[in-house]
Symmetry: none
Subunit: 185 residues, 2 copies
């Protein structure tokens, strides 16, 4: 084993470690970190079977897209886009106000919002106005069912109602007005 190939092997290890810590370094950045030329990095990547930046990023992104939302999210069961939709959410202790048996309303809100934007078929922040009524507080370990229904459509806005039920009892109701104008700050 020559000294030179030992050096290279060490570099290979450092390369893997670097990419492990920050997977989205370009060849140029890697070259700088390891004090070698970009050409060498490319040879090393080829030798180690490491794909180029774009493919690395893409594969990670696809993983992300593949699985459902990780956050306490409702599962959408049925959608008739532009008409109505149904989703389900199981509550648990982690969703409650600390030290209580009361689910934070943000979870109900999020459940409703997700269903509404999906029902509308838009996905951006088109929500304009919402009026919300929490009829009954909900505890953990409940199966919540949300129903949305498009009530009216105008030139560039529409109105959607959502109700969330727990055991046939309506516990939350909201009216959303969405519109099509999207301008971020």
């Amino acid at each position: 084993m020559s000294r030179r190939s030992e050096v290279r092997q060490k570099r290979h290890e450092e390369l893997l470690q670097l990419l492990n810590e920050s997977p989205f370094l370009t060849d140029g950045e890697l070259a700088e970190h390891l004090n070698v030329s970009i050409a060498t990095i490319r040879l090393d990547r080829t030798a180690l079977n490491i794909p180029e930046l774009r493919e690395r990023v893409l594969s990670v992104a696809h993983e992300q897209t593949a699985e459902p939302h990780s956050m306490g999210n409702a599962e959408i069961m049925d959608i008739e886009e532009g008409i109505r939709g149904i989703s389900v959410l199981y509550t648990d202790e982690s969703m409650c106000f600390p030290g209580t048996n009361v689910v934070r309303s943000q979870y109900l809100y999020t459940m409703a919002e997700d269903l509404v934007t999906t029902t509308a078929g838009f996905r951006a922040a088109l929500i304009n106005v919402a009026s919300i009524k929490y009829k009954v507080p909900v505890g953990p370990n409940c199966k919540l069912i949300a129903r949305s229904e498009l009530k009216s459509v105008r030139k560039d806005s529409c109105v959607i109602w959502v109700s969330i039920y727990c055991e046939r009892k309506e516990i939350f109701r909201a009216k959303y007005i969405l519109n099509g104008e999207v301008k971020t700050v």
Copy 2:
């Protein structure tokens, strides 16, 4: 509103929907799907604040790499219980609708709700009614400041207003009516 801009608005919606289904389409693919030129797609993306493919992919990938988001939590800076409160939240890509520069409204709602319940000095889900107006969509990398103010108190309910600002501009406003009755389902 002219017919042409209606056509465009419809195309914008279709564009959002397309990207919702498959967030990693190139401008060329989008153009083909919508039967317009690539130039038009670019204009639409600009108008809708949708970043280019690479950035969309990168942001998703970063989301994946980033720690499990606990639910973008606002930091409460100052509270005068029963009177008013201030909190701060920094937005990022992980809070946006996938493939866009628009923060999901649930984050604004949650920020507001947290501040309101803290301001009220109650800790359970006492929210009864909320009316919400999203004035301007917000993008990532913004510093949001929420201010709450107790407006009135009655026997067992009170009214609290919250506004969220981005660079002095009000982007969200809500009125909450809280009450003291807590009965879980």
